[in-house]
Symmetry: C3
Subunit: 109 residues, 3 copies
């Protein structure tokens, strides 16, 4: 048994939760802040058998890895603004940090 502590961006956390449920991976979700200068993030505590650690890591990577996205910034109401401000811009979203911790004992009651 291992304990995986995974910190992902809020925007990826629902998708990851759903993946965990679908794959029958037991994860507990903590609401967290700070870290990495990023605003909102979510921490998952995942208890998992040794031979499924890689599967969980692959799932987190697939769902939450850093990627570039085009976003249209909100329209600026200030008429004096440069019109280019509302064109789509490329931003980096996502990213996950994972720690695998040893577990000495595991019990369910």
């Amino acid at each position: 048994m291992k304990m995986i502590i995974a910190i992902v961006q809020d925007k990826d956390s629902n998708r990851l939760s759903n993946q965990f449920i679908e794959q029958n991976i037991r994860a507990t979700k903590l609401s967290t802040t700070g870290g990495f200068l990023r605003s909102g993030n979510t921490t998952f505590l995942i208890g998992i058998e040794d031979d499924r650690v890689q599967e969980v890591m692959d799932l987190i990577k697939e769902t939450s890895h850093t990627r570039d996205q085009f976003m249209t910034p909100p329209v600026n109401m200030d008429v004096s603004m440069d019109q280019t401000a509302s064109y789509p811009v490329e931003v980096t979203v996502g990213g996950a940090t994972c720690f695998v911790l040893p577990v000495e004992a595991f019990q369910q009651f």
Copy 2:
């Protein structure tokens, strides 16, 4: 020293907190969601000396184990409903998942 991470149902968490205080067991409470498809749950982080691990596990088991309970469902206001709907029904409540993690160092300032 060990770190016990215990996930219990919200409805058992106050009773467990009180038990920890009474037995002089230092526990920190995190508000958590998800996991096991169950709605609200509470995660406790418990730092404990090696020779008290079993005592803590016994306490969690006693306070939070899965058990069947009779519950009277809320009365349904729809007069056309089958009257049997307000008879007590048996439901399963409680349940705890515990991980014991090794601790390399412990310090208080």
Copy 3:
């Protein structure tokens, strides 16, 4: 790599967050309650290279250790009260509890 779990008083948590950012230490903040009969506390999860563990512990100690402080209690509006009630009194604030856990693997995506 180690995982440091540090529990500090709420009143010290912002100062500690700022120190972590300044020293480029990646910490995630959990909102926690209970433990030690103290009301509000904050738990930090800090993933750190082995050779920086002592640096993090020193920072937590410096920022959050138990110390005595003089506080002026709020003025009591009841005119019949003893006037000495609004003199400064010495109270103990702060305090940190730190656990260092081994980490078997660490990955960022």
